[in-house]
């Protein structure tokens, strides 16, 4: 079964479409990297999947059930703003969430908080650092024992060590419970370690959707003489050009012609290529 599917999902805020005609299906057990430039609609998409806001058009389904105005019992959501009651202690906050859930494991929350160094159960949430609050919020999300975990920028305000701990917790969660994870992030190198699926959206539309290895295998980076671009065959995604040399990102590329070096891109250069292409599209659209 698919854990999350979107059919022609659109979300409009007044005149602006944050998400438009978005369609994808995420199989169970995948760890999905949701990437895209700032304002691409990643947060809007995750909020809609969590039942916090309703799509203007189309429909989202979680484990086959349409999302309608409330969160699916098998979903846990980490919001980008980390909304927590700052005047409660960590212990009280855990108790509060326990009271608001039918299925809940305080054990699991303690275990996760125990794995993360430096969160004092008796400290007021407001006195924690941004990273500390993120760790508490992730622990609370896991306390719901979800089958689908939606994480909006889970690594944003973590130091490298905490980032590593958090990624390890997410990996363990996936390995132990088979949880599907959708996480948005700008930290592509970190995502590559844990994610096996990529969903690249820009201007509210899906640009790339697929298994990371397969997607990478379908693309090529070609480096060659600036004059010889016409000999290259394949779908050009984006290019960076200097006076003497062109670097091209291509999809479904034919074997490289003479004088060109062909390599498989890594996740970072793939995403960069797509983001550059979308920025150029936007700039040329503005200049028209």
């Amino acid at each position: 079964m698919n854990s999350l599917t979107a059919t022609a999902v659109g979300k409009r805020y007044r005149a602006r479409w944050a998400v438009r005609d978005c369609g994808f299906a995420i199989p169970e057990g995948k760890v999905v990297a949701l990437v895209g430039p700032n304002g691409a609609g990643k947060s809007t998409l995750l909020r809609m999947a969590a039942g916090l806001s309703r799509p203007t058009t189309g429909e989202l389904k979680v484990f086959g059930t349409p999302v309608q105005g409330r969160i699916h019992p098998d979903v846990a959501f980490l919001a980008q703003e980390r909304p927590l009651y700052h005047d409660l202690t960590v212990r009280e906050l855990v108790r509060l969430c326990a009271a608001m859930n039918d299925r809940w494991s305080t054990e699991r929350v303690r275990e996760v908080l125990g794995l993360q160094a430096g969160v004092d159960h008796n400290a007021k949430v407001g006195s924690l650092s941004g990273g500390g609050r993120t760790q508490v919020a992730i622990a609370l999300a896991l306390g719901r024992l979800p089958r689908l975990l939606l994480l909006d920028e889970p690594l944003a305000d973590l130091d490298p060590l905490a980032r590593d701990e958090t990624l390890r917790i997410i990996m363990t969660e996936v390995a132990d419970r088979g949880t599907t994870v959708v996480m948005s992030s700008h930290l592509l190198s970190d995502l590559h370690e844990v994610c096996d699926h990529i969903l690249l959206i820009d201007e509210g539309r899906v640009q790339v959707d697929g298994d990371i290895q397969e997607v990478l295998a379908r693309h090529r980076i070609l480096v060659g003489p600036a004059a010889g671009e016409s000999t290259v065959e394949g779908t050009l995604i984006s290019a960076t050009r200097t006076e003497r040399q062109s670097t091209l990102l291509l999809r479904e590329a034919e074997p490289a012609p003479r004088g060109w070096a062909s390599t498989e891109p890594d996740l970072e250069s793939l995403v960069m290529g797509y983001l550059r292409a979308s920025r150029e599209r936007r700039n040329s659209a503005q200049h028209k």
Binding site: R54, I71, P83, R95, L96, C97, M100, N101, R103
Partner: protein
């Protein structure tokens, strides 16, 4: 859920409890000191009889000068508490969650939005109402100890006495609270909800204060033109009065004035007892057969209070339904 709501509103609940304790202490002390003052001035009998029958009028006057201020403050307290409940408990209840984004935490747990809302409403509202009713009871207890020496002599229908009696304060509090929560979810700003809520409450409270009188059936009291009707003095609420002609129909006011003028000018030597008698005898002859008044008796005051609660409680229910509707479609 109960614990969750209690923990989040702990500060407010402790404040309410503090208010109650201070209120009980202060009113009990003031009341006993007032009773001492009554006995020491030999005013005990005057508490139950009209002021003109009081044997020691100077002492009564001194007593009133000393105690009318504290008693008025107590009455004002009960008038103000509903507004305070609306501003400090109703308005921030959801506005703060929406402003700080913490509603997202609640909305992504398995508890339904309606249940979350109801449990917050109940934990916020019930203790506030309990404290209000307790304070109202205490103030009434104090006022009744002063009897006719205190403000109760003005009757149940004066604005201050009416606003603190029976179920009316509860009705106002429900309305102020619901108004605060509604403006809170609409504006999503605590400060806006608090100030707009206070303003709107004061306006509506005074705009509707006269409406309630027209909802309760009145009684018509009739009497001869030569003596003033007793309802003007016994604390009844007089909604209409004037003269009736021989057919029992009310006479228009300008006609009444003209007839009275006519009777006044007929006899010579005005001001003498004889002319006064002639004047009174002239009235029925010229067509002012009877005096009448449409009144709500003081013993019927409870009906007016019930109508009052129905109006403000009804508005409160509408506003709470609006709050629930806005919260459910919040996105």
């Amino acid at each position: 859920m109960i614990w969750a709501s209690w923990r989040q509103q702990r500060l407010q609940l402790i404040t309410l409890l503090g208010l109650l304790v201070v209120g009980v202490g202060a009113i009990a002390l003031l009341r006993s000191s007032m009773l001492d003052s009554i006995t020491s001035s030999q005013l005990t009998a005057c508490v139950t009889q009209p002021l003109q029958d009081c044997a020691v009028p100077e002492a009564a006057k001194a007593f009133q000068e000393e105690w009318s201020n504290p008693l008025d403050m107590a009455r004002l307290l009960i008038i103000c508490v509903p507004a305070l409940i609306g501003v400090f408990i109703g308005a921030p209840l959801f506005a703060r969650e929406l402003e700080q984004g913490t509603y997202v935490l609640a909305f992504t747990q398995s508890v339904s939005r309606t249940r979350w809302m109801l449990s917050k409403l109940v934990i916020a509202l019930v203790p506030a109402l309990v404290v209000l009713i307790a304070l109202q009871y205490l103030v009434t207890w104090w006022l009744s100890a002063a009897g006719t020496l205190g403000p109760l002599k003005n009757g149940a229908f004066t604005a201050l006495n009416f606003g603190i009696a029976h179920a009316s304060p509860v009705g106002y509090a429900l309305f102020a609270f619901a108004l605060g929560t509604f403006l809170g979810v609409v504006s999503r700003r605590t400060l806006v909800a608090m100030t707009a809520g206070l303003g709107a409450f004061v306006v509506v409270r005074f705009a509707l204060s006269g409406l309630v009188n027209s909802l309760v059936p009145t009684q018509r009291v009739e009497g001869t033109p030569d003596r003033q009707l007793t309802v003007h003095e016994d604390g009844s609420l007089v909604l209409a009065d004037g003269y009736l002609d021989t057919a029992g129909q009310p006479v228009p006011e300008d006609e009444v004035n003209a007839l009275i003028q006519a009777c006044k000018t007929t006899p010579a030597g005005a001001g003498t007892p004889e002319s006064q008698q002639e004047f009174l005898a002239c009235l029925p002859k010229s067509g002012l057969a009877k005096q009448y008044a449409d009144v709500i008796g003081e013993s019927q005051a409870w009906q007016v209070h019930l109508a009052d609660v129905a109006i403000f409680g009804g508005l409160a229910v509408l506003l709470l339904a609006g709050t629930a509707w806005v919260l459910r479609r919040q996105n």
